[in-house]
Amino acid sequence: MDRVLTSSHAPFWHDGSRVSVRSYDVVLAAIPAVLMGIWRYGVPALGVVSLSISCAMLWELLMNVVMKRSVSIGDGNALVVGLLFGMMLPAVVPWWLIVVGTFVAVVVGKQIYGGLGANPFHPSLVAMAIVMLSWKALVDFDGALVNYDMGFCMVYPLGAVKHFGAAAAGNYSMVDLLMGRQSGGIGAVFGLGLIIGGVYLILRATVRWQIPVSFLVGVMVTAHIFHMADAERYAGAMFHVLTGYTLLGAFFLAPEDSSSPVNGLPMVIYGLCGGILTVLIRNLGLFADGVVFAILMMNVANPLLDKLRPKAMGRV
């Protein structure tokens, strides 16, 4: 009778899901977009993405050791954070920018709050925001990609419409934008790839569909209203969807678990407002693209939004 039985609390079944599977899912979904970026921009792009991933993972490991926590590389989140940061960068950036950026993402954006689940912002977006504010010129696509000539219009589309009005949008065909024939972040230019990845994540329920759908609706409706008001100055809805970080933001950045709501109505408000803010910043603000700051602003609102939840049953 010295058998040692396993004793624990109910339930005794588990559906087998785990955090690492979710992370690898995101990576898998991002692969088409990343591969297209590397194919278009070549070895420098590969270098940027690889360095970003490895730095993010090293920072994570370092913080685990320094903060005396269990090693969390295995959950794959550092990999995702590094990958998404790399996907937002132009193919040509100084190496130290990546080292600093991933430090901001992993350490400032996540670990000091207590690790995954406690981060109020998307870590990759925190890093991108800091980089955009501190070294604007280095992540300016027209400047960074000046030496590329790939047979299509190499002017950053959002920059073009910002300076030359909606007419500039005519230089880009929708098919080109969908197929990655545009200038932009390594992993942000291949619209079709991002859509396929995003739909995959939604079907897998790794991403809560309400967020990307309402984000895109927000972008389209707002862009359309601007376009209706002044078709000379403001580009149309589809142009805004297929350029800049819109699709990357909708499917990969806005729905980050910890920094986005989980209840129905809050998810929809979060997505809609994110989309609206994106276009407002693009059309009225200082930056060519508004995705990074729009989502960060919604991250701030997230805890408040998620209070709008249905009352539990049986509660008076």
Partner: protein
């Protein structure tokens, strides 16, 4: 174990499922050499709880302060020990060495013969299918509706769904009506269960957690007002046998897992789970898990002497390799739990405050009390946080705090 689907945007409902066994497959196991019964609120050496005392089948075993049970066998009390149960509740475990064929308690038989329902009411505590009759016969508060609960509570368990189709159910109900003076009897069964007519009957979809009393109370019309008591079909059948003068403490239990096809056995209440498993030839090894009840709501035993109780419908064996252990990560706010919770508890927030020991905040702001204990949040949690355990401990702490301030 039902795993997550690859494409899970539309989540699969957890159906109660079939076990490939029917009423004809019930195997009657012989009398065990010993049974164990718990007496809540008893003390060793008080009342009838003395080593050496002789007991008859159906005899009352009094504890000291109000706790008592009916002895399921005829025999001699061979040990009385205090033990600690679920969430630290103390009870006395009375072990009775079975001396042979049943000798029925005289008073009980006489009362049944003479239709002395008052005696029965005073005498009734626990019968197969209903572990605690005190609220139903105590009349305080008055029970208006008795629900004969012919649905299983846990996934994969079929015991009640089968037993509700046995002969004698209607006779049992009319007998029970005289014992329990409730205004209304309702029979709850799964959709598509045949037979059983002549009684107010409600059909429910066989999808977990519809079989939980807490869910039925909300879903079935007329049950939400309170004053509702639940009894299993076996309790009804007990009364049908009783009206024929037979005191039947047999309990049907479904045994599954451990690499064998599910089986149905009828055993005496109080039989040790180890005895059942060895008579079925199931070998339990180190690291395996033996569960009284089903996969979502059962209780893992640490010792194979643990008995089958009046309301134990199933025994589930999990081999060590099947066991998915809880982990100590923190919530990543994925929202899976929110999607499955049938009563809309904000589990993601609740689990955070419970993990920090903020029990009162959990109760006041995050609906700790609304939880019906279905375990679905725990089952889907990607971090594998033992959420249900947190919730149950939290509730106990809240109760303790409330007692502390009141007394």
């Amino acid at each position: 174990m039902v795993k997550r689907r690859f494409f899970n945007v539309v989540r699969r409902a957890l159906r109660y499922g079939d076990a490939g066994v029917g009423l004809d497959d019930i195997e009657e196991l012989g009398l065990p050499s010993m049974v164990h019964v718990p007496v809540w609120g008893g003390q060793p050496g008080f009342g009838d709880l003395k080593v050496g005392g002789e007991v008859a089948t159906g005899q009352l075993l009094h504890g000291s302060d109000g706790g008592y049970v009916l002895s399921p066998v005829t025999g001699v009390i061979c040990s009385v020990v205090e033990r600690t149960g679920y969430l630290g509740r103390r009870y006395v475990r009375v072990s009775i060495e079975v001396s042979g064929e049943d000798r029925f308690d005289g008073g009980l038989v006489e009362a049944v013969g003479g239709s002395d329902f008052d005696f029965l009411r005073r005498h009734l505590v626990s019968v197969p299918g209903k572990g605690d009759f005190s609220l139903l016969v105590g009349f305080d508060p008055v029970v208006n509706v008795v629900v004969v609960h012919g649905m299983d509570e846990d996934i994969g368990v079929v015991t009640r769904r089968l037993m509700v189709q046995s002969d004698g159910l209607l006779e049992g109900i009319s007998y029970l009506k005289q014992v329990v003076r409730a205004g209304r009897f309702v029979l709850v069964v799964c959709e598509g269960i045949s037979g059983v007519s002549g009684v107010d009957r409600v059909e429910v979809k066989p999808v977990y957690p519809n079989g939980l009393p807490e869910v039925l109370m909300r879903r079935v019309p007329g049950l939400s007002g309170g004053g509702v008591g639940f009894v299993g079909p076996e309790a009804v059948l007990f009364f049908s046998r009783l009206s024929e003068g037979v005191i039947d403490f047999g309990k049907v239990v479904m045994v599954s897992g451990g690499g064998m096809a599910s089986r149905l056995v009828k055993v005496r209440v109080g039989t040790a789970v180890g005895d059942i498993l060895s008579s079925l030839g199931v070998v339990v090894g180190d690291g395996d898990r033996v569960i009284l009840g089903g996969p979502m709501r059962g209780r893992a035993v640490s010792d194979l002497e643990e008995p089958v109780m009046w309301d134990t419908d199933a025994v589930l064996v999990q081999s060590g390799s099947e066991v998915i252990r809880a982990e100590d990560g923190q919530c990543i706010n994925c929202g899976e739990c929110i999607r499955v919770c049938p009563v809309r508890v904000p589990v993601n927030m609740l689990v955070r405050v419970l993990a920090s020991g903020l029990y009162e905040e959990a109760a006041e702001r995050y609906d700790l009390d609304s939880c019906i204990g279905c375990g679905l949040c725990d089952y889907v949690c990607v971090v594998r946080i033992p959420i249900l355990q947190y919730i149950m401990l939290g509730r106990q702490e809240v109760m303790r705090l409330a007692e502390g301030t009141n007394g």
